[in-house]
Symmetry: C2
Subunit: 141 residues, 2 copies
């Protein structure tokens, strides 16, 4: 696949963002403004330094609101089993066409201390938990 | 699994709704207010008469907004391949613990004429399309 050079022009960045589908090997399942849930799941996540942090396991949607509250980053474990799960506020994820994955502004030390859970020990995803998670990343809930 | 009798009391219905996880065989991946994306995918969809219409293939999320705009119903095809895809406004889906799936207020004749697409022929999920789909089901976009 041809690798396009990046540019810092805001216009171009916006285009890169909207263009993400053409950079990936999955069937195109959505267009400009929307992304398919099954395309987000499994996508790699990198930090700003380019280190691979893990991948998106799934994401959590408000049953009534239809709003995605967290994308859940996972790493460790084997074949998706037994890893640790880190809920990230959806707005932290930015797709990077060069990396072929999401880039989040977290370094690995911060991630170590971030709210997380193990398989089978999921938290109550209530407002208290949301405030904790969003607060950890300096975002309002 | 023990089958609970239904009740029409609003309180009880609300509890049924929030209780849905305990009625299912999937690992519990979320709690009251939120549902995990990978738990929605594959869930059966019924009409009000109890006929199975198909299942949820995936759902479409606004990249920027984090808002789920459609849950995509599929039926026909084989092992998830080659079927038809019917985008439904998220708010049309109501989980029914007795059915073990979502119930939507559409009859099969209406579904036949509903906006749909085949695999590999996905529409532009733009505002025009959204207005068409939401309009078909009598909902504002």
């Amino acid at each position: 696949m041809e690798r396009q050079s990046r540019t810092t022009s805001p216009d171009m960045r916006e285009r890169d963002y909207d263009n993400r589908d053409s950079e990936r090997d999955f069937p195109i399942d959505e267009s400009h403004a929307l992304i398919a849930s099954n395309k987000v799941e499994g996508t790699a996540v990198y930090n700003r330094a380019g280190d691979r942090l893990g991948s998106i396991h799934n994401f959590m949607v408000g049953k009534q609101s239809g709003k995605v509250e967290y994308a859940v980053l996972t790493f460790g474990g084997f074949l998706g089993m037994g890893g640790n799960y880190y809920p990230l506020p959806w707005k932290m994820l930015n797709y990077d066409t060069d990396q072929g994955g999401y880039v989040v502004d977290i370094d690995e030390d911060d991630l170590d201390k971030a709210p997380s859970y193990r398989e089978g020990a999921e938290p109550e995803f209530d407002r208290t938990y949301a405030t904790t998670v969003y607060g950890y990343y300096g975002l309002p809930y």
